[in-house]
């Protein structure tokens, strides 16, 4: 993990508020693994204040790193307008990663909207290891505008199953419907490979994926997202309820967790009836 300055080389709009920031000067990110993230901040003064956690999409030679983001607030809106040459501060690589592809496993990569980056990187890693046939991407969004980088993914050579809620691209419905269908097919095929699920996306989708995996007794890893200020286990802002301990920290102990570890509690604690805590 290093803290360094990088520069925007290219800022490519993908429509629908999605964009890919290509950064140069990211040599310290060499060797980053799928699931890891960076804390990123532009030169934009005192407000917004905190750096933003962003999953790595791809890390290439010569210090190049790609990040996929969607405009959801002030920070991402400023990033989306960052011109080539803009300076950004980067802290990373941070957090843990998905398990490495394995010859006796079929990995179902279940991505929802802007949760794509770590799974894209996982697919890229599988392709690089010559194991593209052992991974399948299940990619869902509200509309076709939420499904991005399809050409890049196709070129990795992994099977893709697209799902949109409005049916504007791929199967109509939710990505979890497709997941259940894939599991059924895998069972019917009686493959000697074990099935494994890795997922990243909106919290509700992750819990649904986790529940399906639990019901079908399939190994499953979820990459969680949470508000965080530091990314290095100091602010303790990114606590999530866990099974074996009261809380786990997305930045330091995650963002990738075995589903069983984080599935036993409701997604968010109730805010009613709480007394003010001591900050």
């Amino acid at each position: 993990m290093r803290y360094f300055d990088a520069r925007v080389i290219e800022n490519r709009s993908l429509g629908g508020g999605y964009f890919v920031l290509r950064l140069g000067g990211c040599e310290p990110l060499a060797g980053s693994r799928p699931g890891q993230f960076v804390m990123l901040r532009g030169d934009w003064g005192r407000d917004p204040l905190l750096p933003r956690p962003l999953s790595l999409l791809s890390v290439a030679h010569e210090g190049r790193a790609d990040l996929l983001a969607k405009v959801v607030g002030r920070g991402t809106a400023l990033m989306e307008r960052s011109p080539p040459g803009a300076r950004v501060s980067v802290l990373g690589p941070l957090g843990n990663s998905f398990p490495v592809p394995s010859a006796n496993m079929t990995d179902l990569l279940v991505a929802g909207g802007v949760g794509l980056p770590p799974l894209f990187m996982q697919a890229e890693s599988a392709a690089r290891l010559g194991m593209a046939d052992g991974s399948e991407m299940l990619y869902g969004g509200r509309t076709s505008r939420d499904l991005v980088l399809l050409g890049e993914m196709r070129s990795l050579g992994i099977a893709m199953h697209l799902v949109t809620e409005d049916g504007s691209l791929g199967r109509r419905g939710r990505v979890t419907d497709e997941l259940e269908a894939r599991i059924e097919r895998w069972r019917a095929a009686d493959s000697d490979r074990r099935l494994r699920i890795m997922s990243c996306g909106p919290r509700e989708m992750l819990w649904a994926v986790g529940r399906i995996a639990q019901n079908c007794d399939i190994e499953c890893y979820l990459s969680l997202e949470e508000q965080m200020a530091c990314g290095i286990g100091v602010c303790l802002g990114c606590a999530v309820a866990a099974r074996t301990r009261q809380y786990r920290y997305v930045c330091k102990e995650g963002p990738v967790f075995p589903a069983a570890e984080v599935m036993s509690h409701a997604p968010a604690a109730s805010t009613s009836g709480m007394e003010a805590g001591a900050p």
């Binding site: 005192r46 204040l49 905190l50 750096p51 508000q227 100091v234 602010c235 309820a241 809380y247 900050p279």
Partner: protein
């Protein structure tokens, strides 16, 4: 007329300062809750270049903290309700202190309790540890036996707590004051009158944030502590009020410091040293940078000794 000889003789300004019984290499410390137990930042900046660090608040027993969501961003600041999560005295001594003993900078340990006895017990145990240069007491905690009112809001309760802890702490002993009061001077005086060596001003300001879309509070406990540059003017005002009241113990200034100029402003208001808090999240190497920026300011302003700046605010004509 300035000759080249004069330039060569120009002295490097001394940044050494002292506060509450501790000598510091420079006036820049890092604030409790924003710097972990120090080791987390070991590869991000040079700890020996800092004046000192203040650890996460330690309680007698480990605490798990509050339910999420625990933080949210606000205009030029952030709100937190971590719930004073920490490893407890025993694990601190065993797991965190060995690194701190050799980290090359001054170490203050922040501590708290939820009852009077817990405060005294925790303070005594931490003060007895080798490698602890001083203690900073967090009094922004709900007093369970007094209906959850913070210990630090009532000058007489605070005075009693300071006196009881002072009796068992034979090391430099600072008290971090809450800004959630109408009379910061009365709180500082209660500390000075009962034997504290310094006051740290200020802790976070109680605040809230609402998500209009979901109609819910943005953090789980509804209220949280506001920090960051948004609170700097309030912090400066409180530091200056306590300084102006001639409270006979020094002040460590805290609140929204982002750069060397911010730190200098606190010294001018009357602080003998400062703590960098939320900025360590924004830029993890900021405390070290701020030391350099103070040095540059001193050079540019012809200040030979940083202590000349303390309380140097020019009022009137």
């Amino acid at each position: 007329m300035t000759s080249s000889l004069d330039t060569r003789e120009e002295r490097t300004p001394t940044l050494r300062t002292s506060c509450g019984g501790i000598e510091f290499r420079n006036p820049v410390l890092t604030a409790s809750g924003t710097f972990g137990y120090g080791q987390e930042f070991d590869t991000l900046l040079s700890l020996p270049r800092l004046g000192g660090l203040v650890t996460k608040g330690i309680s007698p027993k480990p605490r798990f903290g509050n339910p999420p969501p625990r933080i949210c961003e606000t205009a030029a600041g952030m709100l937190n309700s971590i719930g004073l999560e920490n490893v407890g005295v025993e694990a601190f001594a065993l797991e965190k202190l060995p690194f701190l003993r050799s980290c090359g900078t001054r170490v203050l340990v922040n501590f708290f309790g939820t009852t009077f006895d817990e405060y005294v017990d925790c303070g005594a145990r931490l003060a007895a540890l080798d490698g602890v240069d001083g203690l900073e007491m967090n009094v922004s905690c709900p007093n369970i036996k007094a209906g959850g009112i913070e210990f630090g809001r009532d000058p007489s309760v605070l005075g009693d707590l300071v006196r009881a802890c002072r009796a068992v702490i034979r090391k430099p002993f600072w008290v971090k004051l809450t800004p959630n009061t109408s009379d910061i001077v009365a709180l500082a005086r209660a500390c000075a009158d009962n034997g504290a060596d310094a006051v740290s001003i200020i802790n976070t300001i109680t605040a809230m944030a609402i998500d209009a879309r979901t109609r819910r509070p943005k953090i789980g406990t509804v209220f949280g502590g506001l920090s960051g540059p948004a609170i700097k003017p309030v912090a400066l005002r409180m530091v200056y009020q306590v300084h102006r009241a001639r409270i006979p113990i020094p002040i460590c200034g805290i609140g929204g410091i982002q750069d060397g100029t911010d730190a200098i402003e606190f010294l001018l208001a009357g602080a003998s040293c400062v703590q960098v808090g939320t900025q360590s999240f924004v830029d993890p190497a900021s405390a070290e940078r701020i030391v350099r920026e103070i040095e540059c300011y001193c050079h540019a302003q012809g200040v030979n000794d940083v202590r000349e700046l303390i309380g140097g605010l020019a009022i009137g004509h």
